[in-house]
């Protein structure tokens, strides 16, 4: 596949999500254009425990919260965040 039409993103899992998936990160490749929602679907299909993740989790791209229809680029860091309980 042409690399210009393909993106590899680093996906990070935190807290309860990291426990569910059994890992704290993964590399995911998918055809462009792609959204954060596409990354979530791919993760839920490809990793055993990940089917327990919500279909619409909170997500961040490159350290900033985004909606699931946000586009991803090659090299992005996509994070799936359990409900925030800071403070």
């Amino acid at each position: 596949m042409d690399t210009a039409t393909q993106a590899t993103v680093r996906v990070r899992f935190f807290a309860r999500y990291a426990e569910l998936v059994g890992r704290s990160e993964a590399a995911v490749s998918l055809p462009l254009p792609a959204t954060v929602g596409d990354v979530v679907r791919r993760v839920r299909e490809d990793f055993p425990g990940a089917s327990a993740l919500p279909e619409r989790p909170l997500a961040a791209v490159n350290l900033k919260q985004v909606k699931l229809d946000a586009h991803v680029q090659d090299g992005d860091e996509v994070a799936l965040l359990p409900p925030i309980a800071g403070g």
Partner: protein, 154 residues
């Protein structure tokens, strides 16, 4: 003065937070009042034998989010001086997980800025809590309030 940014100081710590030192970061001759908020690990009637809470975070994003959050706060209260520290790791009941200090020329600004920061932290700073209980169980805190997972302080 933007201590945190200038010195590239972390908003995160793994050791107990000193209030007197945090307040010293924001104090200034131009400020007549300072408001401090401390969030502490609770084991009250709503909790089920909590001994400590284990705090974890998406640390790089916490730092980035605090820069954005404090930039927003300073835009709203330009005269305020604000410092914040969030503690991670295992924090026993009664100790502080977060401390926010806001100093300002007038006290209303100090109260408002401090309150704004804690409300925004709860909303957007990626930190998670796991309650450690006397019976040995461990429960992720779900801030949406499911019965088995109450927030330690809300």
């Amino acid at each position: 003065m933007r201590n945190a940014e200038l010195n590239d100081m972390s908003y995160l710590t793994r050791t107990p937070i000193s209030l007197d030192l945090l307040v010293a970061e924001v104090s200034s001759p131009a400020c007549g009042g300072a408001c401090v908020f401390l969030g502490t690990v609770r084991n009250g009637p709503d909790e089920q034998g909590v001994t400590a809470i284990e705090y974890s975070a998406y640390e790089e994003m916490v730092e980035a989010e605090f820069v954005r959050l404090l930039t927003d706060a300073r835009a709203r209260w330009p005269e305020a001086r604000i410092a914040v520290r969030h503690r991670l790791g295992t924090i026993p009941v009664g100790e502080a997980s977060i401390a926010i200090a806001a100093a300002a020329p007038h006290r209303a600004q100090a109260f408002e800025a401090c309150r704004y920061v804690i409300e925004e932290v709860k909303r957007r700073v990626p930190v998670w809590k796991k309650e450690l209980r006397v019976d040995g169980s461990e429960v992720w805190v779900d801030p949406s309030g499911r019965p088995t997972a109450r927030p330690s302080h809300v």
